[in-house]
Symmetry: C2
Subunit: 287 residues, 2 copies
């Protein structure tokens, strides 16, 4: 199998490294906007060959993987469609799925498409941060649109397993709803914390000295790539706004118990959060 | 100098270990509710001697350190006051300061009190999690009430330096306002995320599989000791409710830009958060 990865940054590069390490492809080609990135991707073992021209890069590919921010993927699709072979499978690693699935459905020329989303990443961007172990043990969503052939889904399920990730076949709608709560809402609340601390720091010069590990952990996501995250927020608008509404409701509930000094109910809510977090993260509760 | 630590859990134990390691006291005594904890604290090098009876434990102490949840400290103070010698300095490591400073001011018999709060901790509780390096490089707030002698503040400033932490002398009001934003709001938003994910998981069985590192980091604080955190929320009610109000305002602002598809303003806010976070945490921005 010949695989072409379009976009060899942190995620595309990590995917390429994992595929090459697993020996899951005869050739991994990379397409990117500048030669230096392609050279570095080859040096780091993410690709076998680099192309600036997408037409050259995808020629003869069995699988084309789009590893770019959601909006870049949406912008690339119309130009890419005519370049794909009849049997070529198009795959993407975009963070939201409904917008991409819909765009693909509206294009002639893309016969075999499956959406993808590995639940792994860091706040860093660029090929230097690519890591062949990034996707290991990660949940890897596979989102087959209605009508796609079983063969394409099977090939990708197998590929995901071979690179050590855990395939989960799921609809775009369910995927987008889940990640709005588990990924995108955490990002927005992380942004809220960073902005609140910044506003305080304007009046209170010692703020920075009090930002300890709790603050650093909860604001780590705020350091994510802004372009990538703005795309995600705007392309997953509906589910994300519902998640924000839920967060507001929960925050109001907590504030109400604090305001009224209702310790029993406050402790109940905090305990529920602690236990839920312990079970969701697979970590044991320590007291 | 003889130091007595009341409460040899994660924080009190870490303080004792650091003091002993630095050779900053001739004797570190510990007081706790059960013998097994005291024995373990001695085995772990946190104390030289353990006492179940506070009167015995504090007898002859130059410095008494209260390392307990805020409300436990408030409950202990009246019984402790008559046990303190004329020159004994009372110190505490509670997470909020105004409530404790006020309580001490209302008690006869406590002549020398300084509040303290090391900006270090983990979500874990108990002597097993004590660590002699926990306080190293940490900001350590020292909160002298009006009227306390300079000697007491100097002794504590010196002690904090000797254990490798960074003393910051600050008023209770300023301290409580800062930590409401840098510590307590992050905790509440972490709780909100854990509860939102739990509510989703009731309807959507695959939620847990999608909880990746971003979710785990942003919800780590939700795993904190509930008793400790409920005390903090209720004893820092005013500043915390104002911080929640600010968070709500910021979240509404972000949601509004997302709803209206106002990319320019959304990107501006996300960029501000990213840059602010990078400077506050001393980490460099990666793109």
């Amino acid at each position: 199998m010949r695989i072409t990865i379009i976009g060899v940054g942190m995620l595309g590069g990590s995917f390429g490294m994992a595929v090459r390490k697993a020996g899951a492809a005869e050739l991994v080609a990379g397409v990117d906007l500048d030669r230096a990135t392609l050279d570095r991707a080859r040096e780091r073992g993410a690709i076998d060959a680099g192309y600036l021209d997408p037409a050259e890069g995808v020629a003869g590919a069995d699988l084309v993987v789009l590893a770019a921010p959601v909006r870049s993927i949406l912008e690339m699709l119309p130009g890419l469609a005519p370049l794909l072979g009849r049997e070529t499978i198009l795959f993407d690693l975009g963070s939201t799925k409904e917008a991409i699935v819909s765009a693909v459905a509206g294009l002639a020329g893309i016969r075999r498409y499956v959406g993808g989303h590995p639940m792994a990443g860091t706040e860093h961007a660029g090929i230097e941060y690519a890591d062949d172990g990034l996707l290991r043990e990660a949940t890897f969503a596979l989102v087959p649109p209605s009508g796609v052939d079983e063969g394409a889904v099977e090939l990708l399920t197998d590929l995901v397993r071979r690179i050590g990730a855990r395939p989960v076949v799921i609809s775009a709608e369910r995927h987008d709803r889940i990640v709005s709560v588990t990924s995108h809402l955490p990002y927005l609340l992380s942004v809220v914390l960073a902005l609140a601390a910044e506003n305080l720091a304007r009046e209170e010069s010692r703020t920075g000295e009090f930002a300890a590990s709790g603050y650093r952990d909860t604001t780590r996501l705020a350091a994510s790539n802004v372009r990538v995250m703005a795309d995600i927020c705007l392309s997953n608008r509906g589910p994300l706004l519902r998640a924000v509404e839920e967060a507001r409701r929960l925050l109001d509930g907590l504030a109400e118990q604090i305001e009224q000094g209702n310790e029993t109910e406050l402790v109940r809510m905090l305990t529920e959060a602690k236990e839920s977090r312990a079970s969701a993260s697979g970590e044991r509760s320590t007291d």
